[in-house]
């Protein structure tokens, strides 16, 4: 009896096979199962911390998605996440590992603040000018690493990372020095005038940053999915040697993508400064760089998925925030929840690529 069952085991084994292709339906259900799995672990942890199941449901579902205030704050939270997610995705598509998104955000916010402080341009055009300056400053900050990479093969991970610190300390220098708020002498910039703020659209606190993010999304979608640049950049990302051999302008494509990434990060800086903070602060970019990387990674560098993932990430932030306030959970637990969900989705990639199969050795 036991022998036969043992034989059964010995004659079968789990094999791992590469999937040739995967249907959209199966892909979606694998992702969904991973999400459920991750959420399950998170629920177990929260229950272990003494939070009741019903209140988890209320916080994560009812007050986050089914409530006007909740969903609007998710949207507000998601706007800069979409922008940094797109910034990372655009660069990662061509294997330009832009770790300097936070620095480029600071530069964007500096650009916008320069326009606001020195009242450049007529008031009616003040916001568009701030936007353009933010883009240009972001591009400027990505330009150096891009040129260093394509001309001298300098590793962009190091150069963009170090430029983060330069931008950060430059902001600190300005805020403790010449750009200190003249009114309260605090180390943050002078508040923007009303004409220099992105107005609310009239639903809860949602502001016109949503239009900026939507515009950025459309441009990026067109650029990577429909333009010739997008097709070429896919080849650069997958096989740059081949791209070179068939005569694609590889250096231009890498540098162009890096600068597009910088301009998107700069735009994120502009949106935070002009719609949330109303000034330049030295905490405004904290953590966004890495959130952008995670979002782009989970979204497979695709623009549409980036928006979806950014939205989910935003809701996680919002729900986590209220967990923190109402259940006095530590900050780290919110981070833990995010990490668990990110890890389960990452791990599910295995099941997307491979198929597990029970194979027998004998004709039965």
């Amino acid at each position: 009896m036991s022998l036969t069952s043992l034989n059964f085991i010995r004659h079968r084994r789990l094999t791992i096979e590469v999937r040739q292709r995967i249907s959209l339906y199966l892909h979606a259900s694998i992702l969904f199962s991973a999400l459920v799995f991750g959420i399950g672990i998170c629920i177990a942890i929260l229950v272990g911390r003494g939070v009741e199941l019903s209140s988890i449901y209320e916080e994560f579902i009812v007050f986050t998605f089914l409530d006007s205030a909740g969903i609007s704050s998710v949207i507000v939270e998601s706007i800069p996440l979409v922008l940094v997610g797109l910034a990372a995705a655009v660069a990662f598509r061509v294997n330009f590992w832009n770790i300097g998104i936070e620095g480029q955000m600071f530069m964007g916010a500096i650009g916008a603040s320069v326009v606001a402080l020195f009242n450049i341009g007529p008031e009616i055009l003040r916001l568009p000018i701030m936007f353009i300056f933010a883009c240009m400053f972001g591009i400027f900050w990505a330009f150096g690493p891009a040129i260093l990479k394509v001309r001298l093969n300098v590793n962009e991970v190091i150069s963009t990372l170090l430029l983060n610190y330069i931008a950060y300390y430059f902001v600190l220098n300005q805020l403790f020095g010449p750009w200190k708020d003249p009114r309260d002498k605090f180390p943050h910039g002078e508040q923007y005038d009303l004409t220099e703020r992105l107005p609310a659209i009239g639903w809860e606190q949602v502001h016109y940053g949503i239009a900026v993010a939507a515009f950025a999304f459309v441009v990026v979608w067109w650029m990577v999915e429909r333009s010739r640049f997008g097709v070429n950049s896919r080849f650069v990302g997958v096989n740059s040697k081949m791209a070179l051999a068939v005569g694609l302008p590889v250096s231009t494509i890498i540098a162009g993508s890096a600068m597009a990434s910088g301009s998107l990060a700069g735009t994120a800086g502009f949106v935070i400064a002009a719609a949330t903070e109303y000034r330049l602060t030295f905490t405004m970019a904290a953590g966004y760089g890495f959130s952008g990387i995670v979002i782009a990674f989970l979204a497979g560098n695709k623009p549409i998925s980036t928006v979806i993932v950014a939205f989910l990430m935003g809701s996680l932030f919002v729900a986590g925030e209220s967990m923190k306030v109402f259940y006095s959970l530590p900050d780290a637990l919110v981070g833990l929840i995010q990490a668990i969900i990110v890890l389960s989705i990452t791990a599910s990639e295995f099941f997307v690529r491979y198929r597990l199969r029970l194979a027998s050795f004998r004709d039965t």
Binding site: E17, G247, R355, F361
Partner: protein, 499 residues
């Protein structure tokens, strides 16, 4: 002679593709058994089951008459089965010794190093392989790496040796050396299974032959002497491949001229030195030579991915000071590179993207702001059916194509424009007879249309089959140029002689 290994009713499918359908095979102790078949016939799949890389969906494997379960490379090795794969399974930046200990060490690493070192030296001595156990694998030549693999499976105690197209990467001389060695192993009582698609090897060295086609065994156990080459190739491909009788075309105007070109290898040693080459429109120029005599560097210069140190480069009568890829492509250079998935295709992108990437600039698939995916899809469909690229849908990933079909895809792309010059570097490496013929026909056809074709190949049969002019490269120089038909022995001599 008793049966060493036997397969019965083996099925294996990958997704919806059935790789093996009711395949059977048996080989005896003391013989060299050739396993013959086209690409995708299932030879490698069957043997990968024997060495524990794949599990069969159905069917039995018997060794010495007993049914065995091979559930991994370790268990295969324990049963005395050793396989030398087409792509060597060696860690490049480790030494020969470390690689072998990694595979077959027992107990402590340090002790294994000692015992395995002795084993390597003993076996090397015994079979006349001159392998330094402390050499780093990436400093070894291809044939030395192959010898390392052979020593590795011998140390693992292999009595059944499976070699997957071992001569594909070797020169003529190295090949016959290896095959003779395999025959000696067989005389010692081992069972040698030789996966190949070279008929000549079957006739010269195999005791018996099994032919597979489309995942099925079509004939097994005959001695090659009982068959004619025509019969055998008929079994392999289902029909006899046409032997192409080419009509040589007269030279047109000079398309490409290199004079006194010098270039260096990656390691700084000279690759090309005082290299002269003239290519005429409408002709296939076959450049014969043993691999590593500067062909790769020449190909890279012509593709524009390596720069010359000195010399002159004329294309269409125009002197190019520093030819870039973009410039060369613009002037009508196309190429079929040796490493398909390095310079030829982006494996993770779709067939349709790979099929049109060089034509996007022409504007036939939309302008810079909007690529017309429907037009691309349609053009790819046409290219697939016109070039008989099997197993390809416009949206399949290029990596999933078999060798021959991947090469057809590269050819389809490179030949679809108006090429002035076509570089084909080992275009049929690893392809089966039918795919070879298709590639050769495509090259001849493009020459007839007026393209200057440069064929770099280590396979003399191929050079003789389709060239109008034949040159020999040796040590970075052209050492002889002949009009076809040329004397094969003289060319062979120029290829290997020192100068």
């Amino acid at each position: 002679m008793s049966t060493a290994i036997e397969f019965e009713g083996v099925h294996k499918s990958f997704g919806q593709n059935a790789a093996l359908v009711d395949a059977f095979f048996s080989a005896k102790w003391g013989e060299v058994h050739a396993l013959l078949g086209e690409n995708g016939a299932g030879k490698s799949t069957l043997m990968n089951i024997a060495c524990g890389l794949y599990a069969p969906d159905k069917g039995t494997v018997k060794i010495d008459g007993e049914t065995v379960i091979i559930d991994g490379p370790q268990s295969a090795s324990g049963l005395g089965v050793g396989m030398i794969h087409q792509h060597f399974k060696l860690v490049e930046n480790m030494t020969v010794l470390e690689n072998i200990v990694l595979a077959h060490g027992t107990g402590s690493w340090r002790k294994s190093l000692q015992t395995v070192r002795e084993q390597i030296l003993n076996i090397s001595d015994e079979i006349g392989f001159n392998i330094d156990p402390d050499a780093l694998v990436n400093t070894l030549s291809v044939s030395e790496q192959q010898r390392t693999e052979i020593i590795k499976v011998l140390i693992g105690g292999a009595k059944i040796l499976i070699l997957d197209e071992p001569t594909a990467v070797l020169t003529d001389e190295e090949s016959s050396g290896l095959l003779n060695q395999l025959q000696r192993f067989a005389k010692q009582g081992k069972c040698i299974i030789l996966i190949t698609h070279k008929l000549r090897e079957v006739f010269s060295h195999a005791t018996r032959v099994t032919v597979m086609r489309g995942g099925k065994t079509v004939d097994t156990g005959k001695a090659p002497i009982d068959l004619t080459p025509k019969q055998l190739s008929q079994l392999m491909v289902g029909e006899a491949p046409e032997i192409t009788h080419i009509t040589h075309s007269p030279p047109g105007e000079i398309v490409l001229e290199l004079s006194k070109v010098a270039a260096k290898r990656d390691n700084g040693l000279p690759a090309l030195d005082n290299f002269d080459l003239k290519l005429c429109a409408g002709q296939v120029f076959g450049l014969a030579g043993v691999g590593g005599n500067g062909q790769t560097e020449l190909a890279e210069i012509l593709m524009g991915v390596r720069s010359m140190n000195s010399g002159e480069f004329h294309l269409n009568g125009k002197k190019l000071a520093k030819p870039s890829t973009k410039q060369l492509r613009g002037l009508g250079i196309t190429c079929v590179p040796a490493e398909r998935y390095v310079y030829g295709l982006a494996g993770d992108l779709s067939v349709m993207e790979n099929c049109v990437i060089t034509h996007l600039k022409s504007g036939q698939f939309g302008n810079f702001s909007w690529t017309n995916k429907r037009a691309i899809y349609k053009a790819t469909r046409q290219a697939i059916s016109k070039n008989e690229i099997h197993g390809a849908e416009p949206r399949t990933r290029a990596r999933l194509l078999s060798g021959g079909n991947a090469q057809k895809l590269v050819l389809a792309r490179e030949l679809s424009g108006n090429a002035k010059f076509l570089l084909a570097h080992s275009p049929t490496r690893g392809l089966d007879v039918r795919a070879c013929t298709a590639v050769h026909e495509a090259l001849r056809e493009s020459a007839q249309k007026g393209t200057a074709v440069l064929l770099l190949s280590e396979d003399l049969d191929e050079i003789f089959a389709i060239s109008d002019r034949i040159g020999v490269i040796n040590n970075g120089k052209i050492v002889g140029v002949f009009d076809a038909p040329a004397d094969r022995r003289e060319i062979g001599h120029l290829m290997v002689s020192n100068n």
